[in-house]
Symmetry: C2
Subunit: 335 residues, 2 copies
Amino acid sequence: MTIYDISNKAGVSIATVSRVLNGSDKVRPDTRKRVMDIIEKYDYTPNVFARGMGLRSLQTIGILCADSSDLFLAKAVYYIEQELQSNGYESLLCCTGYNLDIKENYLRLIVSKKVDAIILVGSNFIGTTEEENQYIKDASAQIPIMLLNASFDYPNVYSIYCDDYASMFEAATSMLDAGIEDILYLYNSDSYSGKRKRCGFQNAMQKRGIIDYEKRMQFYEGSLEHMNEIADFVAQIASEVTFNGIIASEDALAIGGIKYAQRMGIRIPQDLSVIGYNNSMLTTCCTPELSSVDNCLKSQAHQLVQTLLGVLTGELMPAKSIFSGKLIKRGTTQF
Amino acid sequence: MTIYDISNKAGVSIATVSRVLNGSDKVRPDTRKRVMDIIEKYDYTPNVFARGMGLRSLQTIGILCADSSDLFLAKAVYYIEQELQSNGYESLLCCTGYNLDIKENYLRLIVSKKVDAIILVGSNFIGTTEEENQYIKDASAQIPIMLLNASFDYPNVYSIYCDDYASMFEAATSMLDAGIEDILYLYNSDSYSGKRKRCGFQNAMQKRGIIDYEKRMQFYEGSLEHMNEIADFVAQIASEVTFNGIIASEDALAIGGIKYAQRMGIRIPQDLSVIGYNNSMLTTCCTPELSSVDNCLKSQAHQLVQTLLGVLTGELMPAKSIFSGKLIKRGTTQF
DNA sequence: TTGTATGCGTTATCAG
DNA sequence: CTGATAACGCATACAA
């Protein structure tokens, strides 16, 4: 079934069928109906490739994400996908893993697929050196690049993110205000976002005049799937430094801290306060429930897609959209 | 940059460039090199649409999944995506939600995108009536349909799943063997997979001569994101029936049970045994850790893609691949 | 081994 | 409002 078949059966030219297909208003209503009837009768759908050749677009957005099974990223992909769908776009998803070379390859690959734009989900796509980010610059010469939860200044690159610095600063400050000063900071990423969080924590400590906080900043490099292993990690730290508060860059790390406390019979929140990050489903998974920073992922996804739609229709859109995170207080804190 | 530009610069015809591009062996080595050099110099990539018109394939697989932020589905999508990537295929992902009409529309849509095959992730795509499954039959007339964690008998439909019936039967039986007979069965889905699990539980109870188990089978219809609400639900049940064991069709439901017990000061596993399902990251999230049925998702994904590759190359492949689940024993059980 | 010519199914630009 | 017809970029059967 091609557009020719339809045009024959309807007794019109292919041009008219094409107009009907694309909702042109320059078609007489009865002609339109006649064509539509044939189209529906034969359940005809235009060939995507041929259409792509004409339009040089398939209403498809490429989504790159390091690991779609990561709680945070999966949620982000989900929200984005939903927003795109409801705006008539489809998504081509690639899970790249965390290796830079592989990420570069995928980006190139997906650009060659003639997607209308590319969304990089998560801050791990942004490196620290010019060199590392060259691949993004290259791609942005072809099509718009959207960043979720990351920031990068460059033409045709749009950043949507949560101010992780401020959120973490606020979280740390509120803990300090409650008189808890020996805070263990757990993190597992040196991505853009990871650095910002850490910086927020450090500045909060410095501002309070605390100087020995560095020894309580610990990097965890294992998987976030097995929280017992995280608990082991925290237990080991506890044998070297003391702390009466934990702030983590990921909820899973905070859960590991809670598990450690439970093993040792340490009372939460009386003897140990804990704050996580992302406000994920893990927060309600433990007892007491985890206080956590909500980085309003859903709003970010919405804003991202709105910005993208604007960019694609040629509007002038903000290069950066910054949201404020918010500490959601639950049972692991008493302030 | 088109194939014409390359052919000009290389001083050959487009046919030769095309042959080089597609790895034909009927090209003289020096000609090939000359063309390749030009291609690389200008970083030329063939237009996917034009290529698709000729080849009627884009080496792309459509993946449909109800909700990519669901722990189980996200993991499944991730594994599948990885397997496909490493075999040179790309994935077009659609999150459909759980509404039947919408799922039908997406399936039709993605078929029209000329993907090489479609993977339906999760058992919620299979309904109970002929009517409900008609859309799958229709699609299978066009391209192969792969089912992950579901089963459907029809030509050109391939099912890969875990024997949930047997797994649940085993889980229930091992709890019964430990003398725990008042078992609360929590479930949240009536999908194919959900029914099979329930059936396994019921048969285990019947085989043991227990007759009043129906009143302890409870359907939870809320979100699995908020485990405190699940705990509320369990608390309400507890006010009506007694139980000293919980078996859940999802880890999250089991976690809700654990949370309920912790609120009430009920000891786990001494006074209450708990078994979850999926062996997800949630199992290590609580204290004690959750015993759970592992349905070997990774192996399923691998087998699915292998089967698919076979189908696409015209090999005769098994219509069903059935894995056996396995109870992973952790702290919430003492048998 | 290489080149020519045609088809693929649309969209879009012109005339009418 | 409608209809020819020219792109669009590539693959391939057929010729050379």
